[in-house]
């Protein structure tokens, strides 16, 4: 309990001190609201607009979640195909890695042209695409990078390829899948916000932030930023909880691999 307190206390103290210093700096240096809003003002805005912020969070969060689930399913399916047919992997993997390196969410501008102006589909497609590549690259690695000793062992048991897949490749890929989820959960949220900057319905957190800034309601914009932070954090936390619930022996397994 004391050890846990020791781990948790320093970041909390630092966070509180940082916010206090921010508040004080706005007062002492008389910073104008259009330059930087005081945390107390932001909090007021947050408390007053709770239902609006919640509604916007729900819209962006749903887009992120739908994309995250679709991208994960597609990524897993494709990685199985790639590990099964090596030639396919040789063709697609370099492409996937290259695509992953460029900010592909600008594609949402193109996708917006394909659907009606109020459609959420382009944003969800965008999230799906981003998540898909992260999951694909990681899970494909987990399915193929199996210890040679373990493969030789399975061959010595005359194990058919289907048994090797089920008993070696898939379990080996599970930590890679969770790593992919930990990366792609926050990425899904970010992609969902940024997608909103490229037009479409003005109902999500991303578009609320821009419209409030456009109307010089900076404290309100910050309140939506706070909502965005909480949403990203929630996605990340859920991905960690899912990992520790699904992994026998918890996180130790990935850090303490035996020979």
């Amino acid at each position: 309990m004391i050890a846990r307190l020791r781990a948790v206390l320093p970041p909390i103290v630092f966070g509180v001190a940082f916010v206090a210093w921010w508040e004080a700096a706005v007062k002492i240096f008389d910073l104008k609201p259009y330059f930087l809003s005081a945390p107390s003002k932001i909090w007021d805005q947050f408390a007053n607009n709770k239902s609006l912020i919640w509604e916007a969070t729900r819209v962006s969060g749903t887009n992120a979640l739908v994309g995250l689930i679709a991208g994960t399913i597609l990524g897993i399916a494709m990685s199985f195909l790639l590990s099964r047919y090596k030639i396919l992997g040789d063709i697609v993997t370099p492409l996937a890695i290259a695509l992953n390196a460029i900010p592909i969410f600008v594609l949402v501008a193109v996708l917006n042209n394909m659907y009606s102006i109020t459609s959420e589909i382009p944003r969800r497609l965008m999230v799906t695409l981003v998540v898909y590549f992260i999951v694909l690259v990681n899970v494909a690695k987990g399915l193929t990078q199996v210890s040679p000793t373990q493969l030789e062992l399975m061959r010595s048991y005359a194990a058919p390829e289907s048994a090797i897949l089920r008993k070696v490749r898939v379990p080996n890929a599970i930590p890679y899948l969770f790593t992919a989820l930990k990366i792609s959960a926050p990425a899904a949220v970010i992609t969902a916000f940024v997608s909103e900057y490229f037009g479409g319905a003005q109902n999500g957190l991303g578009s609320r932030i821009t419209s409030n800034i456009a109307n010089s309601k900076n404290a309100a914009a910050w309140a939506y930023v706070l909502g965005a932070c909480l949403l990203g954090l929630a996605f990340y936390l859920v991905s960690i909880i899912v990992e520790s619930a699904a992994t026998p022996g918890g996180a130790k397994r990935t850090s303490g691999r035996s020979q």
Partner: protein, 267 residues
């Protein structure tokens, strides 16, 4: 009947290409039931290749391998041998028990039978209290014991081992050697054992097969004249040293060049 019979075996890698390697040339060897035979030689002498040919993990270029009276392939399909490697190769996501049960699962055994056998094997390797542990919670020596238990789980007549104690420290290694001998005495398993270490080969084996590289071949087979019961005092007996000397001399003679025996440890 001999458990392993290898006759006029040749293995050439990359045949006809510039990087052709004559891994094994005209190798013949037979291992009797219940015998413990070590393969020793410098790196590149083909001892691991020979082991993998017996295991049917590699196909010979020419020649015959007969294991337990069948072709090597049929013996592999029937799981007539168990195998252990330098790396324990345990599966991190399976408990110790479940690791040992793996070969039995692949044979289609039912759960109760598997669990009973895993328990029996854990008793045999003296780790009964670790059945529910995960591999990363065990020391290197314990992991290797689990690997041996797994290799013997289906009660195969033959155990093939590729430097299984190579990654262990000297004390653990000697302890594991004694354990292995007692396990084999209890089960009557025939063993083919690849090693770099002369004392290890002599301590464990009825016969030590000395091999030399370029091309890989058997240069001499040394009979170890130690009686059945081997223990710590065995390592101090004159017959032990005599066998070590003859293996070392065979290694030197087999190389035919100044660096003969390079890569073979004297410990």
């Amino acid at each position: 009947m001999s458990t392993v019979n290898v006759s006029n075996l040749n293995k050439i890698f990359n045949k006809g290409q510039t990087n052709q390697v004559d891994a094994l040339v005209d190798v013949s060897l037979s291992v009797e039931q219940g015998e413990f035979v070590s393969l020793i030689g410098p790196s590149g002498c083909g001892k691991s290749t020979l082991l993998r040919l017996i295991a049917n993990l590699l196909e010979p270029t020419s020649g015959d391998v007969v294991v337990a009276g069948k072709s090597a392939k049929q013996a592999r399909l029937d799981q007539d041998y168990g195998m252990a490697f330098q790396q324990a190769g345990l599966f991190d996501w399976r408990t110790v028990s479940k690791n040992i049960e793996l070969p039995l699962e692949l044979k289609g055994w039912d759960k109760t039978k598997r669990e009973a056998r895993a328990k029996e094997m854990l008793d045999l390797v003296k780790l009964p209290e670790f059945s529910g542990h995960f591999p990363w919670q065990l020391s290197g020596g314990m992991q290797q014991r689990v690997a041996i238990a797994r290799a013997l789980a289906a009660h195969p007549p033959l155990l093939l081992m590729d430097e299984p104690f190579g990654a262990l420290d000297e004390m653990t290694r000697e302890h594991m050697q004694a354990e292995l001998l007692s396990i084999c005495a209890k089960t009557g398993t025939t063993v083919v054992f690849v090693t770099h270490s002369i004392p290890e080969a002599v301590y464990l084996s009825n016969r030590v097969v000395v091999m030399s590289p370029r091309p890989g071949r058997i240069t001499k087979i040394v009979d170890v004249k130690l009686d059945g019961q081997r223990n710590e005092s065995t390592r101090e007996r004159p017959e032990f040293f005599a066998a070590i000397t003859s293996v070392r001399e065979a290694l030197r003679a087999g190389g035919g060049h100044a660096h003969a025996g390079a890569g073979v440890e004297d410990r």
